[in-house]
Assembly symmetry: C2
Homo-oligomer: 379 residues x 2
Amino acid sequence: MPQESRTITVSLAADPYPVLIGGGLLGDLGFFLLERGIPSGTRVLMVTNPDVEAFHGARALQSLEASGFVVRTLVIEAGEEQKNPATVAAIHDAAFAHRLERSSLIVALGGGVVGDMAGFAAATWLRGIAVVQVPTTLLAMVDAAIGGKTGVNHPGGKNLIGAFHQPKLVLIDPLVLATLPEREFRAGMAEVIKYAVIGDGILFRDLEAAAERDPSGGLASRDALGPVLLQRLLERSAAAKARVVAADEREGGLRAILNYGHTLGHAVENLSGYGTWLHGEAVGLGMLAAGDIAVAMGLWSQADQDRQRRLIAAAGLPMDWPDLDPEAVLVSLQADKKVRQGKVRFVLPTGVGSVTIRDDVDPTTIRAALAVATSIGAP
Amino acid sequence: MPQESRTITVSLAADPYPVLIGGGLLGDLGFFLLERGIPSGTRVLMVTNPDVEAFHGARALQSLEASGFVVRTLVIEAGEEQKNPATVAAIHDAAFAHRLERSSLIVALGGGVVGDMAGFAAATWLRGIAVVQVPTTLLAMVDAAIGGKTGVNHPGGKNLIGAFHQPKLVLIDPLVLATLPEREFRAGMAEVIKYAVIGDGILFRDLEAAAERDPSGGLASRDALGPVLLQRLLERSAAAKARVVAADEREGGLRAILNYGHTLGHAVENLSGYGTWLHGEAVGLGMLAAGDIAVAMGLWSQADQDRQRRLIAAAGLPMDWPDLDPEAVLVSLQADKKVRQGKVRFVLPTGVGSVTIRDDVDPTTIRAALAVATSIGAP
């Protein structure tokens, strides 16, 4: 058993589930499934991608088999280009071939794309079988793996096809981040900063302390953070996500605040073509622009916007708003899932640790903020 | 407003919904959506199939538009061969083209295949938008439209891909059955008989009275039944389904009794190739065989099995168990969704209006029942 680990519970009325966080937990995956009440002998389809399989697949498999699970591994390509119904069909085919039953289990071992697709395949196989999320990227650890959002892309937009399907268990092992490319680590840090801005002033100041020690890289890598701060960031981020999800499982209201930075971030992703920006990088850009909009609307101060900018800079994230046609951005916003009756909803900061949701942002204000973001961001 | 109609509520804790039953209700579809709290101006994608569109599409459309809904109709081929992820993708494409939002609605106007696919498309678009079921076949009215089971076929078996997604409203208008092919009417009657056997002795005796008047056709058509008995059968069947669904939304236990006749029925469908038998015809054959198994196990009497046979005969349903290799049937049973830990679960009658669930049926007993069904059924 690992020395330091912590359990955070996502307190859903119907089926609460634990998020386990601690270095080395992956080697005990099988044990934790048993502890969660999944009996030895259960058929398990482990879905992963080639890199993760190479680094961590054997350990996960060994742990599962040692606990008596009947495991088959499916390795899928898991870039945004493969995040589509055809890949879900491949998971379904493997589920059929491995004779999964309603009491069987899918384990998603990988980043957000693996988790989203394996989760969606589980949600739609036999009208829903259990899934366990084992995220291996920082982004998935603090965001995608917790909360039950699953899905794939449609040619018309990201994640338009999907379902809410809560996992039975989320297992987060920070040691696996040792093999994560640094660019992906930085992208994940954007979501950590998001939690700080939307609801956790203590986390914000923790991040600021690290950023002050090294303004250009203090938040940019696992080594820069060190294991103690990393564990703390994971715990606070997971706890923030768990609180919001428990209060609003299906994104009726409060959960929308998790979309801070995502409205414009999705527009950046859509218009640049999937793959140009990592999701977290786009969210970072979206937070910069949303902050500028909030300043323009008098919702928060330029001083706080500058504090947010410093954190994003210390994470080594892109600071230059890309050269996109502002009118195309406005059109793209209309296609977002979060549109209601044609109105685009923005999550805007009102202070460090608090946000508000507005559907009355003037297109002129958006255009102006994009211009500011571009001119400030330009080198 | 129609003269005689009745509302049955499916009492789910999270989101109870009404099932409206009455001649002529289709012409008031728009009104009932407004009454259900779906605001005028909501974008609606109406999914239907060519025959139903030709007979009833205009009236449904007119009613929706008169109430201010922004409607687009998608006509899909809806045989079992088209019940696959590709057709769901076509519905998703239409949802995107019609700019459906989370607050938008899909209306399924058609039989079980339309309802299952439109429901699944709604369950998985934007992680779930509302669906209203307007069944136009007897089978869909008494079974598929109520209860939230949605899905499509996988090459390995029926309905292996799907989700639970409860409708906002179910609207049943018996007048639309005037355009239903008689073979499909008879197939639907199999599910009515199912409700009688599994839990409604009063319905069983209603059916027997009609069968005694005409042993070879008293239950075989809308005209033979007459409007009063038809309304009554629809109400009792819907109420039976609603009770079971409310008690067990996700098929954890009680709901499994609705699978009476389906375990062997699915095997008949799988082995004969989709399209050879209508679903209800296969269920009728499955009930005959399940009854024989129950007799062999001493669970119910030959006299009651004979009463069941008379109802199935009066509905004009096939009485001849098809010429299938019993060993192939046994293998097919293993692929059923209802298998747990490799054990096939059978719903078996114990009396008129009561059933039990058993997972200890001996393969020898199954073989013997299939032999009995074949020899009795042979002309």
